[in-house]
Each structure stands twice: as C-alpha cells, then as structure tokens.
C-alpha cells in the first residue's frame, strides 16, 4: 500500500515528530508508515484521516 503522508505532512510544515505527537505514536512509527515499511491498522488509518480532515482513500491507495 502506498500513501501520501510525507507530502501531506510537508504541506503543513510538520515534522515527523509533530505528526507522531498528534497521533500519539512514536516518530519511528510515522517514519515506517511514510516509507511503506508498515501499513497502519484501520483504526490508526482513520485517526490519520481525521487529523488531515480527508477520506482514507485520499491518503492511502493500492500499489
């Protein structure tokens, strides 16, 4: 699964740590999601979508 997390974060001028703090996860987790090493669970994907005020499919999409 691919995602636009890095772009969306950069548009808001957030660091990985800022995003991690907002999602209550570690910076390592944000990095793993951004680089595609880890696909988040559905609840975490919803939290990310809520944070960016976008539908999940606008952030995550198939390879």
């Amino acid at each position: 699964m691919k995602n636009r997390l890095k772009v969306l974060r950069a548009e808001r001028d957030w660091s990985q740590q800022d995003l991690a703090d907002a999602l209550a996860v570690s910076r390592q987790s944000v990095n793993a999601i951004e680089t595609g090493k880890y696909d988040p669970s559905l609840p975490l994907a919803f939290r990310i979508a809520d944070l960016f005020e976008m539908p999940i499919e606008a952030i995550f999409h198939r390879d």
Binding site: A24, S26, Q28, S29, A32, I33, Y38, P40, S41, L44
Partner: protein, 134 residues
Amino acid sequence: MTYWNNLAPYMRRYTIRILLFVSSYVIILTSSLAFARGGSEHSQATLIGLALITAFPIIGMFWAIFRLLVETDDEYQRLLFAKQTLLATAATLVIVTVWQFLQVYDVVTTGPQWMGVIWFAMLGLAAPIVRWKA
C-alpha cells in the same frame, strides 16, 4: 530526567517493573544461597521453597515483558516488540537444541541450563536486529 520524561508511559511502567524484579532477584538469590549453603542441613521442602522464591523474580520479568506487549499502545512498536520476543525465543531454542545434542553425543557433560538467562540475553541481542532499519 529528560530521557525518562520522554519515555512512553508503557515503557516507564516496563522499566520500573524490570528494575524491581532484577533488584529483587539479586537480593533473593544472594540471601537464599547464603542461607542454603550456610553449613546446616535443610529439609527438601525448605530447598524447594527457596528454589520457588528465587524463581519468582525471573517469572516476574517474563510477566513484565508480556505486559509490555499488551500495554504498548503504539501498534508499530508492539509489532517490533513481538518480533523481538519471537526472535529471542527462536534463538534460545536453537541454542538449547544444539546444547542438548552436544550432551547426547557426550561432547559436554551437562545439558541445557539457565534457559531463562539465555532467553533474556537473546532478547537483548534481538532488539537491535529487529530495529535495524525499522
């Protein structure tokens, strides 16, 4: 204190639990060994009791590690901890299996011992392996 304050709450609880069990283990082990080897004879029941009391903090450390898996609210970190414990378990089983056959073929006189200690050592070794490029 900054490092401590930056730790996630589940890691703080884990660290406190491990420190308590490790310090209990050192105190219990040294005092129980001193008592058991003090020169006087002890009943079998007393020695079994000493063995159980000494094992208790080690069992506590296993409990603390598995509580960490339950309490970690960061799902990616939980995945890394799960991988770490599985890798440690696999490495321990490899060591114990080889050691066991070394005894079967009379290369060594004593079979696998201190498996808990081996597992903790493997858990420590597994951490950087699992987190490398994670």
